[in-house]
């Protein structure tokens, strides 16, 4: 067994121990995980972004334009101060504003128009009818200007059933994913760590 396997196995078991109950072993692993992941993030961010997109263009290419976002970025640190926090709203506003601007056409095209067009199917087929009824009744469920009574109540109720089918199918698929992950970890413990050759 290699050192790698031993280290990985110890931490794997520490996390699994949470299933029995919260314990010092898990708590230590939890805090190490938080620390290591923050450290990883810090290094990747500085190397991949600050160095390559701010420092190098500034030093080698004399690209003065990058000073603007860098200064705006530094303004974020105002958050750490008790009473100057509002300064950080300036870079935040740029992020949020530009983010909102690009999202409007993107959402409209990809989530609304494209999905509408894909739902306009000939009604001779069963799937054409089901898709239309499903989309319309689900939209009815999420219509808030009217109480769900009478004919509208029936429509919204139909929507609920479609939603439940969707959630059920999702549940099934998710079980599949989670089980795969567990099998992966168990294979590691059984094959690599304990050396039981299957």
């Amino acid at each position: 067994m290699t050192v790698e396997t031993l280290v990985a196995a110890i931490f794997t078991i520490a996390i699994f121990s949470f299933l029995y109950k919260e314990n010092p072993f898990y708590r230590a692993a939890e805090h190490i995980l938080v620390g290591v992941s923050v450290g990883y993030y810090l290094v990747i961010l500085v190397e991949e972004t600050i160095l390559s997109k701010v420092a190098k263009p500034l030093i080698y290419d004399r690209n003065l334009l990058v000073i603007i976002p860098a200064v705006l970025g530094l303004l974020m640190f105002a958050r750490l101060s008790r009473n100057k926090g509002y300064i950080a709203r300036i870079p935040l506003a740029l992020l949020i504003g530009a983010g909102a601007g690009v999202s409007i056409p993107a959402m409209l095209w990809a989530r609304v128009l494209k999905q509408m067009a894909a739902s306009m199917l000939p009604l001779q087929t069963i799937s054409g009818i089901i898709i239309l009824v499903g989309v319309v009744s689900t939209l009815a469920y999420f219509y808030f200007s009217r109480e769900q009574r009478g004919w509208f109540g029936y429509m919204a109720k139909t929507g609920t059933y479609f939603l439940m089918i969707f959630f059920g199918a999702t549940f099934g698929y998710t079980v599949m994913s989670r089980v795969t992950l567990l099998i992966g970890r168990m294979e590691f413990l059984l094959y690599d760590f304990l050396g039981i050759i299957g």
Partner: protein, 267 residues
Amino acid sequence: MDLSRLDRRVIFVLMGLAVIIPILFNITTDVEITRDTLDIYNEIEDLESGEFVMISFDFEASSYPEMYPLALATLNHLFKKNLKVIGLALFSEGTAIGYTLLSEVAGRYGKQYGADYIYLGFRPQYVSAILGMGESIIKVFPEDYLKRPVEEYSEFSGLSGYDDLPLVVSIADGSMPIHWADYANARYQQKVAVACAAVMVTAFKPYFESGQLIGPAAGIKGAAEYEKLLKQRGIAHRRLFAQSTTHVFIIVMVIVANLAAFRGRRR
């Protein structure tokens, strides 16, 4: 014994056994190939050797066990077809994993870094990264993961935007393919093929049905199907038996719980 109030630790132990015992038997099962997996396979199969293809490692370290067989199968296909592979990551944790996987598989096919493939590394803020690459890939990634200017690699220095990429493949455990669809496909009509965690299938399905995304090869079954198409049976095939038994175990648990609750009510 009141089965409807079973201690959850008992369930945990049973669940553990339901996974461990079948693994010990090491039985390999066969799979039927589905249309979804065939879609992504054919899309890659139809590319000409020497064409560029971008592969984005859009997953976190946590879903490594599920994503590993999928990434392996797709990478095997890309290198087998002699495509020029451009790797990148839109999740920070995918960065190191993507680089490790890419180097590992490229090595098996005797591919050279810089000539046959490059790894661009990671960019945060995926929306602006995806949109930015539509304008210029080199502007978003002036340097690769190894800190060398991308322009120094003669094979890749001519890259502009998505026009040069017949296909982007997103290996994803979360909703990143939706962002690829919402931004790269919506704005630049970029073709995006997806290999994803099983959990995402129902969420992505409308995008596949409407043609905004291609595929998906999903989960361990998708990986096994892909292995079968490539005629390289591997890790995904091996895991399918334990997968089946555990699904059955959960279904049995649900039935037992319902029967117990029903009996409790009648009393």
